[in-house]
């Protein structure tokens, strides 16, 4: 294929994109940076505060607590969804009506508005009224996600697994489908075991899609807001308040512009940093 041609006029072609994204990204970010170093008591009067908000946020117990909960949540999510997604993709039919049916049904959770996901699980898990709540309680287990932190955590994790595992499945499935039959034939002729086939053929071949899946799941779970908020509101107490939930509470609830802005930037930077790390690892893997 002919290599790319240097053409500065290409800037005109990217102009609409730059304008639209910059309008949404640059101006708000500037606003946030602005707020993060100032204090206001209303009436649009601002006082320079320097790094005070940053220090406050970074030292606050509340921030540490949310951060810790966020890290635990994201870790558990990744540990469950990635292997589960791969396992399901491996056991799915490869072609025919069964394959289409599976793909369509599995994609459904991905297209449900996030607040509906939260509401759906809310209704589903309610102790008396919900199917899950009723069944679990009738088995003798005391389960009430509105009152017990552990139950709330389990329910949120179950909800996220329900919601997003399909993404991992779809990506893994695409990766597995791309493996030519000849590899399986050759492995059969080499008398390889199922485990060897997984380890030496399947896993290496889906490395690329898997990295994307892990990156996406990591990012999105780290920024999660709507579903847990609708399900538990961050409670009971603040046992399920993750970073985004906390931030929105401070920003839109309390209108503490300064701390909210500082926290926003810290949050954004953490996400960017972790993504950059992932991205670099991914690229390095590609080169090998």
């Amino acid at each position: 294929m002919i290599a790319r041609v240097t053409n500065q006029k290409a800037w005109f072609m990217v102009l609409p994109v730059i304008l639209l994204v910059a309008f949404n990204a640059v101006i708000p970010l500037m606003t946030v940076v602005n707020y993060s170093v100032q204090e206001t008591f209303g009436n649009n009067v601002f006082f320079w505060e320097g790094f005070r908000w940053y220090e406050e946020v970074l030292n606050s117990e509340r921030f540490h607590a949310s951060m810790l909960r966020q890290i635990i949540f994201t870790s558990i999510i990744l540990l469950i969804e990635i292997p589960l997604g791969i396992a399901i993709a491996m056991t799915m039919p490869r072609k025919g009506l069964g394959a289409t049916l599976c793909l369509v049904l599995m994609s459904l959770p991905l297209l449900i508005p996030w607040n509906v996901v939260g509401a759906m699980w809310n209704i589903f898990a309610l102790p008396e009224i919900g199917l899950l709540g009723h069944v679990v309680n009738s088995m003798g287990i005391d389960y009430n996600f509105t009152q017990q932190p552990i139950s709330a955590w389990i329910t949120i994790i179950a909800m996220d697994v329900w919601h997003w595992t399909s993404l991992v499945v779809l990506l893994s499935y695409a990766g597995l489908s791309a493996i030519p039959e000849a590899f399986y034939h050759a492995a059969q002729i080499d008398t390889a075991t199922k485990w060897q086939i997984f380890r030496y053929i399947q896993l290496p071949k889906i490395k690329h899609v898997l990295t994307i899946a892990i990156l996406l799941r990591f990012m999105d779970s780290f920024m999660i807001y709507t579903e847990p908020f609708v399900l538990t509101g961050g409670g009971p107490g603040n046992s399920t308040t993750f970073l985004s939930t906390d931030l929105v509470k401070i920003a839109l609830g309390q209108f503490d512009l300064g701390p909210a802005a500082a926290m926003s930037l810290i949050y954004f930077l953490i996400v960017l940093l972790l993504c950059w790390v992932f991205y670099t690892l991914m690229m390095r893997n590609e080169e090998q």
Partner: protein, 266 residues
């Protein structure tokens, strides 16, 4: 051992369908019945919840609003992304790699960070509570995604096609619209699908930027949950209805779902 592997996807699908079934189940019950008895299917089957939604303007308007801005966003995102993706795919220009990376970072922005600034920005621009506001706001993460997907597909089309068209006398835009776009039709479909998906499901920004006129169905639902205090039947019906557009879209692209993930970038 091989015979039993179908159990895994089957169990998973059952797991996926359970909450949805429960939601649909509840949508056909009155709130009284829901609170009163526990049953796997409606004892007193009723369409009341659905009727209320279809006849009450505050309700059905929510759907119309949501679908409007989602549609607008998809059109804007894909249209803007097409020439940009082409540029990234075909040309080298000053700062191209950095620009691309900057675009991708926007996909990684936590919406929570932007909630307040967006509120102020769009109020200041006079766009508060319009469909356009949400459509534009969603561009923040949809455009980078669309550019990313389209660039992948476009790179799969050999440059020789472009060259041949020029030699044959096509002007750039005629070539782009009549020849190039059809050759990446699948890519446009995938990009549009993802734009639709992310815009349709997003709540935080959509709620923040609207109040009355452009209120999405998500906002109507959450407002009902808190103020009228648990009209569960109604909520269930509203929720069930939001699943339908998604189901439709999946059905239409069913043949491309796995392929779409596979082609282009992946």
């Amino acid at each position: 051992m091989k015979r039993l592997t179908w159990i895994v996807p089957t169990l998973y699908i059952i797991f996926l369908m359970l909450p949805i079934y429960w939601l649909v189940n509840m949508s056909f019950k009155t709130t009284n019945e829901i609170l009163g008895t526990f049953s796997l299917w409606p004892q007193n089957f009723t369409f009341d919840n659905y009727i209320k939604i279809f006849t009450d303007r505050t309700w059905y308007q929510g759907y119309i609003n949501s679908l409007s801005y989602v549609f607008m966003n998809t059109v804007i995102s894909v249209t803007a992304a097409l020439p940009a993706a082409y540029a990234f795919s075909r040309y080298k220009f000053l700062g191209d790699k950095h620009l691309f990376f900057w675009l991708l970072t926007n996909r990684m922005a936590p919406p929570a960070v932007f909630a307040l600034p967006f509120f102020q920005l769009y109020s200041a621009s006079g766009l508060f509570d319009t469909h356009l506001a949400v459509a534009l706001a969603h561009c923040l993460f949809n455009i980078p995604l669309a550019v990313w997907i389209l660039e992948g597909f476009m790179s799969g089309v050999p440059r020789e096609l472009d060259e041949t068209a020029y030699v044959d006398g096509y002007s750039f835009w005629r070539f782009f619209i009549k020849i190039f776009l059809p050759s990446i039709a699948a890519g446009i479909g995938v990009a549009a699908f993802f734009c639709f998906m992310f815009s349709w499901v997003e709540l935080l920004l959509a709620k923040t930027l609207t109040s009355v006129d452009a209120k999405p169905i998500a906002a109507t639902m959450t407002r009902t949950a808190s103020t009228a205090g648990y009209e569960l039947g109604l909520l269930s019906a509203a929720g069930t209805l939001t699943i339908i557009p998604g189901a439709f879209v999946i059905y239409f692209v069913r043949n491309y779902i796995a392929k779409g993930f596979a082609m282009g970038r992946v």
